[in-house]
């Protein structure tokens, strides 16, 4: 018995060392059978030796009988052992590959997460610095808004979803700061449907869309324009619309803005096919960005 354990350990060492798990079945199955037979033979020879040591005068027939029985027994034993061991190995491999895939997805999702645009942060700080002399009260308010956005941005790494109300507050603070920068060139409008706050949304996603609207819309217009955010509920989904003055150049769709392509992928990873995302020219001077989010 002890010898059999030794044998299976040796066998296991072989399997691991020569990476049998990577062999194809056609090669693996005969190999296992040959090994099982060899192991059984080794086991029997060992038994025969023990018997001979104890009783050297045994006849050949009396010696053969227990050996034949022992060989048959151990063939089954080793076969069973191999079967169990390989099943275990396959399961383990499957598990680790699953785990691996999950880690990959996690990292991917993290990379897709929206990040605050450094350009925005430094421009905001610059405007605030000028505002300190001109309007101390407003500049204090601006610092509070900026710190709220920075805090949210730092926290967003840890959360997959945040309440819509929280995201909306971030967007309002963001627009508040951009209004200081763009002054009369930026006006904002909110039309939020009741019940929107029950939804959970990916952090900084709406903010990214609004930021895009400003970057590609308002910032390029000498007279500026409007950013309007509205929501409504439709078939149990939350529809968020961002409208900004401006125009998508033809062919300039999802591929163009890095932020938009990211948003699309991120939605797919979180919600599968349940969420929708689109961007288009609504009329000759308005770009409409829309996302549908499931509950």
């Amino acid at each position: 018995m002890a010898f059999n354990i030794l044998l299976t350990h040796g066998f296991r060492y072989f399997i691991i060392k020569f990476k049998w798990l990577n062999f194809r079945m056609v090669k693996l199955i005969p190999l296992v059978f040959v090994s099982v037979f060899t192991l059984s033979l080794l086991s029997s020879i060992f038994l025969a030796l023990i018997i001979l040591v104890r009783n050297a005068s045994l006849s050949f027939e009396t010696l053969m009988q227990p050996i034949v029985i022992q060989t048959t027994e151990s063939v089954f034993l080793f076969l069973f052992w191999s079967l169990a061991y390989f099943i275990y190995l396959y399961f383990e491999r499957y598990n680790t590959s699953l785990k691996y895939e999950a880690t990959i997805r996690e990292t991917e999702l993290k990379n897709l997460k929206s990040q605050l645009n450094p350009h925005f942060i430094f421009n905001a700080l610059n405007s605030i610095r000028a505002l300190v002399e001109e309007n101390p009260k407003k500049s204090k308010e601006a610092i509070t808004q900026l710190s709220h956005i920075l805090r949210n941005s730092l926290n967003s790494d840890r959360k997959k979803l945040v309440p819509f109300a929280e995201e909306l507050r971030t967007v309002k603070d963001y627009l508040g700061l951009e209004s200081i920068r763009y002054e009369e060139r930026l006006s904002t409008k909110f039309d939020i449907a009741e019940g929107s706050e029950r939804f959970q949304v990916p952090p900084l996603m709406l903010q990214t869309l609004v930021e895009n609207g400003i970057k590609h819309g308002i910032a390029n217009l000498k007279k500026g324009g409007i950013v309007a955010i509205s929501t409504f509920l439709k078939e149990g989904q939350l529809v968020v619309q961002v409208r900004n003055t401006g125009q998508l150049a033809s062919g300039e769709k999802l591929e163009k803005g890095f932020g938009l392509a990211n948003t699309q992928k991120r939605l797919e990873m979180i919600y599968g096919s349940e969420a929708k995302f689109k961007i288009k020219n609504e009329d000759l001077k308005t770009v409409l960005t829309e996302i549908n989010l499931p509950k």
Binding site: N123, N126, S127, A130, L131, E183
Partner: protein, 235 residues
């Protein structure tokens, strides 16, 4: 020195002009919120120095510079912009990151040549003037004494300097009118050469001349211009 601040944000302009108050050598003659306003102000005041934000609605700062016959000394201001920073590989005087640090601003101003007289609007472009040339993603501030010659190519002009030849969208005739004739010479319908680069002159067919420039370029001077050229070179 007459200075112009160009930035689309009022607060950013205010902040910079506040910082510049400590520098008596700077005289702010105006502020502009976009390229068009800047163009008007530059025409009117002929500033020797401009602070320029690259990203503006309408035309960008680079496009503004391209439109100017000659560019003053330029200090770029930007908040954070990889594209702009890449473009700064060129020999811009300096660039400042917003919010601007007072000592960093002082450092930039030390690079400014305050002795340079920018002159009036009808001042001809001479050796000491610089132009801004943009070709694709690359751009250069080029002092005109570095330009060996200009070559017309359809609606464009190739500007030959160092080992590059970027194109500018302009006619050779229009350029010729703006150039100082003490430095530049219209060799033919196709070429304007920098007299400072001339190394060797040979006679050529039909009474023309072949001019060899330092660096080995050979430019033909047409028969019509040959007499004037000889006259000029003998002076």
């Amino acid at each position: 020195m007459k200075t112009l601040i160009i930035d689309d944000e009022r607060l950013a302009r205010k902040e910079l002009s506040g910082l510049l108050e400590n520098h008596k050598e700077i005289e702010i003659v105006g502020e502009a919120a976009n390229a068009e306003e800047a163009m008007e102000q530059i025409m009117e005041h002929q500033p020797g120095l401009i602070f320029l934000d690259v990203q503006m609605p309408g035309k960008t700062g680079f496009e503004l510079l391209e439109e100017l016959d000659r560019v003053p000394q330029v200090i770029f201001t930007t908040a954070y912009d990889e594209f702009a920073l890449k473009a700064f590989d060129v020999n811009a005087l300096d660039y400042l990151l917003k919010p601007i640090q007072a000592d960093r601003l002082a450092e930039s101003l030390r690079k400014v040549d305050f002795t340079e007289d920018f002159g009036s609007a009808d001042h001809k472009l001479g050796k000491e003037d610089q132009v801004f040339v943009k070709d694709g993603d690359k751009c250069w501030f080029v002092k005109l004494d570095k330009v060996r010659y200009f070559e017309s190519d359809g609606n464009y002009i190739k500007v030959f300097f160092d080992n590059v030849r970027p194109m500018i969208h302009k006619s050779l005739n229009a350029l010729d009118e703006r150039l100082d004739e003490r430095t530049f010479f219209r060799a033919s319908r196709k070429h304007i050469i920098n007299l400072g680069w001339v190394e060797k002159i040979d006679t050529w067919f039909n009474g023309g001349l072949l001019v060899e420039l330092k660096g080995g370029d050979k430019i033909e001077v047409s028969r019509r211009q040959a007499a004037r050229f000889k006259e000029r070179m003998s002076l």
